[in-house]
């Protein structure tokens, strides 16, 4: 598989500067006055003025509770909310009624795992002897809910192992995806290794045995052009805060027919039809999965975020990040004592690069970089198993986005070069 973005023109340096002007926070200094270089977008991205403005405008002109009102504000708010649903759904290539607003991507995976653990899911319900297949590089969000589903239903959790290069080891894939496999759940891109997974191949094999496919698209939707319908997955999740949107909103996108077959997980207002003291009937998807007041303001802001991304062009963002990945890999290759954890080449890889510094703990690495203004993440990045696979407890991770400059990557590499000396390790 080669990625669709290879053809597009990367953002030019001047365009990146124009983009940066939209992000006030990128211009601040930290610590003793060092200019911030924000290389932590893999954890959470920053919001441009356009997104903040959209939320402000909505709050000061049209906000009200949605769906249940006869008054003007309620109507305007409902329109804005449902327009957002259409726009975000279009952004990832699914119909609006297949897009559910939740708290974050984690909740989306929990909802799926819980619904599939419920006997009311009918033919989709997990049974003893069934198999759930994940991979060894998953974020805890795409691991622990499936552990719980397996424990609850008697299904067995299995996983695709990794090569030393941080790619999927597909040697035994035809044994791993077999007639017992009911769910194949995997990240589109790893939040640690940066690896982009072979979605088409996994989907084809899952389809061949009638298994559902669940894509953790948290690290792909913000960075690559993603069309979930074309990818052919049955369900996918992603989070607003990683794609220029606010916290407090995540999306579960799924084939409407699948949603219609699944029981609700959270219950309450707005998702019911007829309620008596003894019983309740439930509405159709997406409402059935949206109990209580939804993240209205956050949906409106996320709408502005996808408009921003589309305005720049996801293909061009992907092409630019491909450049950045190359720049980071090249830079790190030149720093003594640094070992990249994950693919050493930029092919099928995002601009998220985790690494170990010989003799220096990631916390200390991060601290020295922070003093130079460089914000990276340290720890296990909610993916302990993949760290264990590569023989470490934790790592340092730099992750770029559309607003990252070459100069920032260079400053990062340069500062990293001072780390071992600071701790007397060279």
């Amino acid at each position: 598989m080669t990625l669709t973005y290879t053809g597009a023109q990367p953002l030019a340096a001047a365009e990146v500067e124009t983009i940066r002007a939209d992000f006030p926070i990128l211009h601040r200094t930290v610590g003793d006055g060092a200019q911030l270089a924000y290389l932590d977008s893999g954890a959470s991205s920053q919001r441009p003025k356009q997104v903040l403005q959209a939320e402000y405008d909505f709050a000061t002109t049209s906000y009200a509770a949605v769906h249940r009102g006869a008054h003007t504000l309620a109507g305007e708010a409902t329109d804005a909310f449902e327009d957002a649903r259409e726009a975000v759904a279009r952004f990832v290539g699914v119909p609006a009624q297949g897009l559910i607003w939740l708290r974050n991507a984690t909740e989306g995976l929990n909802v799926l795992a819980a619904a599939l653990s419920d006997p009311q899911a009918g033919r989709y319900a997990l049974q003893p002897g069934d198999e759930i297949l994940i991979t060894e590089l998953e974020h805890h969000a795409n691991l622990v809910p499936w552990q719980q589903a397996a424990a609850r239903t008697g299904a067995k959790l299995r996983w695709i192992p990794l090569t030393d290069d941080g790619r999927l080891d597909l040697a035994n894939i035809d044994e791993l995806i077999n007639r017992r496999t009911k769910v194949v759940a995997f990240a589109h891109a790893s939040n640690v290794l940066g690896t982009v997974l072979p979605v088409a191949e996994l989907v084809a094999k899952a389809k061949a045995v009638g298994a559902l496919t669940v894509l953790d698209a948290c690290q792909s939707v913000p960075h690559l052009p993603v069309n979930l319908t074309e990818l052919g997955v049955d369900a996918a999740v992603f989070s607003g805060h990683k794609m220029l949107g606010p916290t407090g909103i995540g999306c579960l996108a799924a084939r409407p027919e699948l949603l219609d077959a699944l029981p609700p997980v959270l219950t309450g207002g707005s998702m019911v039809e007829l309620v008596t003291m003894e019983t309740a009937t439930f509405r159709e998807a997406p409402q059935r999965f949206e109990a209580g007041t939804p993240p209205v303001a956050q949906a409106v802001a996320l709408h502005a975020a996808v408009n921003y991304l589309s305005g720049v062009g996801m293909d061009r963002i992907a092409a630019r990040e491909h450049q950045l990945a190359q720049l980071m890999l090249d830079g790190l290759a030149g720093v003594e004592g640094v070992r990249v954890i994950g693919p050493h080449t930029a092919e099928n890889r995002t601009a998220t690069v985790a690494f170990a510094v010989e003799g220096v703990h990631p916390h200390d690495v991060g601290q020295v970089l922070d003093a130079a203004g460089i914000a990276v993440r340290v720890g296990h990045h909610c993916a302990q198993p993949v760290h264990r696979r590569f023989g470490v407890n934790a790592s340092t991770r730099a992750s770029a986005y559309l607003y990252t400059t070459d100069a920032e990557v260079e400053r990062f590499v340069q500062a990293l070069g001072t780390v071992r000396g600071f701790f007397g390790r060279s």
Partner: protein
């Protein structure tokens, strides 16, 4: 004309009081599924409902009877539906239905064809109020659903 008067045209106010075709529908009534069907539609947002019964002749809509709770818009819309389609060929009723839907979804943009829609053009103003579109369509959806049921119960050309 205020926007309130644009929404509540006199036709609507009148029909919401008169309610043509509104009657009691006995729960246990027996009928031939190949010519008569009922549909109950429910609006979970407000609890409104309409139960509507259609009887078709060979080619035409012979009878419509309905009951239910609802706002003036939904009651009037069902009453107007009754007047518009009873006696019309089924095919014509279907095309009225299609036009009506298009009008309601126009968000105030389209110019409805009074030739086709008759009194139902009074509901054009509803299209500006997204939250009332459901009210105006409730009885019409019941009509459409009942037509489908009859169709399903009739021997098809192929089978025949």
């Amino acid at each position: 004309m205020s926007s309130l008067e644009a929404l509540y045209q006199q036709v609507i106010l009148d029909h919401s009081k008169e309610k043509h075709g509104r009657t009691d529908l006995a729960d246990d009534e027996m009928f031939d599924p190949a010519s008569t069907a009922r549909s109950r539609q429910y609006n979970p947002l407000c609890g409104d409902e309409v139960t509507l019964q259609v009887t078709l002749g060979e080619q035409d809509v012979r009878e419509i009877a309905w009951t239910g709770e609802g706002c003036s818009i939904s009651q009037a819309a069902t009453s107007v539906l009754h007047d518009l389609v009873v006696g019309k060929p089924v095919e014509e009723a279907r095309s009225i239905l299609a036009d009506y839907r298009t009008m309601l979804r126009s968000r105030g943009a389209g110019t409805p064809d009074e030739e086709v829609l008759g009194d139902a053009v009074a509901f054009a103003g509803v299209s500006r109020h997204a939250n009332r579109v459901k009210c105006a369509i409730l009885g019409w959806t019941a009509f459409e659903d009942a037509l489908l049921r009859i169709e399903a119960a009739r021997p098809t050309a192929k089978e025949a």
